[in-house]
């Protein structure tokens, strides 16, 4: 199972706790994990990546195993610890000040 940690507003929207667990078939990449996330929680479609461009929303970043994965290819395999379910993929929103 792939573990994904969502920011607070998306947890509220999906009505889940901090972490969700997903079955991902085939190669475990950002794209396949986000596809699985949206299939399981359709209310999240368009909130992490833009509907049309499929690009990550600019105020969101992807982290795992203390690495910033935000700029890696959507089709690159995620770290082995994420694939094995030992570490979560973190979807993190930019901090708002003021």
């Amino acid at each position: 199972m792939i573990r994904v940690e969502l920011p607070m507003h998306l947890r509220t929207l999906a009505r889940v706790d901090k972490e969700v667990q997903l079955e991902v078939e085939g190669k475990v990449t950002l794209r396949s994990v986000l596809d699985a996330l949206e299939a399981r929680y359709p209310m999240l479609m368009g909130t992490v990546r833009d509907h049309v461009t499929q690009q990550r929303r600019p105020f969101l970043r992807f982290f795992a195993c203390a690495e910033d994965l935000s700029h890696q290819s959507l089709d690159e395999t995620l770290p082995e610890a994420v694939v094995r379910g030992e570490e979560p993929l973190l979807i993190i929103g930019a901090i708002a000040g003021g």
């Binding site: 992490v48 509907h51 049309v52 929103g93």
Partner: protein
């Protein structure tokens, strides 16, 4: 027993204020969607328990939610999830560029005069259809009009508006290039009025297939040709349902009136202390009684002299009276944004408006006296009212 439900959109959530018909005691319910910008909440005239809300965020984009119980509970209208491709979703607003629908233009004018691609940002205004709770229109930024016929599960652009030819001249105002006003003619379902900042007002007479600019008579000194067909910063337009041909407009500067469905406008600012402002609305029973909230200027978005005042004209403009009883008399530097005024249909007509300072003011006597029915909300973006029987 009659009652009133006031739907308030703010920078950090939505609030539902309710009262019985006396409008003396108010209950505040919320925040709904806490932490999200709520540009607009509006109920269906065909089913008052069906509400639509535009929920938006710089982080997570646009969401549309709806309620079937008058705002007690909310749901995201479920579209079609993957693996159905393309997935349909209630927050998917995709501009129509198909040849079949006229291949609308894909660029508009940017602040610097260059052409810029159309990019969806948010929904500013939702206008439910008059006769069907599952049909609603959405005015969006970058300016376009969309329609749902399945209760918000999916939205399709009405492409004739962007495709009619003047699109390359449209440009954003300071708040973005937003389609913020949608008015449905209750006597002619084929006729819709819309307004865009900063392009102007437009009308369709054939249900959205074709559109034309209706800006003749507007004069805007801040554009190169003050009487141009396109480029006017219209802030809001209002209509009384009994007289769909009569429109009232608060422009960037100037309060305007048209007696022929927008074909020609004339200025009715009259004795207003300043004719800059955002809101305008019409009394529920008196089609010639209109309300505005004068704001000092386009660079000073607060009331003149720090004194919050509504102005009322009982003559459809030109002659205005100050209404200030119950409103702050000094040190008030809030703004009242374009969708933040509404009226109820009770006797006497109730008038409501919200401020960027988080106050919602109500008058149960057509504006003669005012009371703050909410005082410490986040900045108010929109106010709508439902009169309940």
């Amino acid at each position: 027993m009659s009652g009133v439900r006031v739907l308030v959109g703010t920078r950090k959530g939505a609030f539902v204020l309710t009262s019985d018909g006396t409008r003396r005691n108010w209950q505040i319910d919320g925040p709904h969607f806490a932490g999200w910008e709520i540009y607009h909440v509006k109920g269906s005239p065909a089913d008052p328990n069906r509400l639509y809300v535009s929920q938006t965020s710089g982080w997570f984009g646009q969401l549309i939610q709806r309620s079937n119980d008058g705002g007690k509970t909310w749901e995201i209208p479920s579209g079609e999830a993957p693996p159905t491709f393309p997935a349909r979703a209630s927050n998917k607003f995709v501009y129509d560029t198909s040849a079949e629908t006229g291949k609308p233009l894909t660029t508009h004018q940017w602040y610097d005069g260059t052409q810029h691609p159309w990019e969806f940002k948010r929904v500013w205004h939702i206008e439910p259809a008059l006769d069907d709770p599952d049909t609603a229109y959405a005015g969006v930024e970058d300016a376009a009009i969309f329609r749902t016929t399945d209760g918000g599960k999916s939205w399709q652009e009405i492409p004739g508006l962007r495709g009619h030819g003047t699109g390359p001249k449209w440009q954003p105002g300071a708040g973005g290039m937003c389609l913020h006003t949608i008015i449905l003619n209750p006597k002619n379902p084929q006729q819709i009025f819309i307004a865009i900042s900063a392009a102007g007002a437009f009308r369709t007479d054939d249900g959205g297939k074709t559109w034309k600019p209706i800006n003749q008579g507007l004069r805007s000194q801040y554009i190169p040709d003050p009487t141009a067909e396109i480029g006017h910063c219209v802030h809001h337009v209002a209509m009384h349902p009994s007289r769909p041909g009569v429109l009232f407009m608060q422009k960037h500067w100037d309060v305007m009136r048209s007696d022929n469905g927008g074909d020609l406008w004339k200025e009715v600012s009259g004795n207003l202390p300043t004719d800059f402002g955002f809101v305008i609305d019409v009394h529920a029973d008196q089609p010639e009684t209109i309300y505005v909230v004068p704001i000092k200027s386009d660079s000073e978005h607060f009331p003149l002299d720090g004194k919050l005042r509504v102005y009322r004209s009982r003559a459809g403009g030109n002659e205005w009276e100050e209404l200030s009883k119950g409103l702050p008399e000094r040190d008030c530097y809030v703004n009242v944004l374009r969708d933040a005024m509404a009226v109820d249909k009770l006797d006497k007509c109730g008038v409501y408006f919200g401020t960027t300072g988080g106050q919602v003011y109500a008058s149960a006597d057509a504006g003669d006296t005012w009371t703050a029915i909410a005082q410490n909300l986040p900045a108010v973006l929109s106010v709508e009212v439902q009169t309940l029987s």
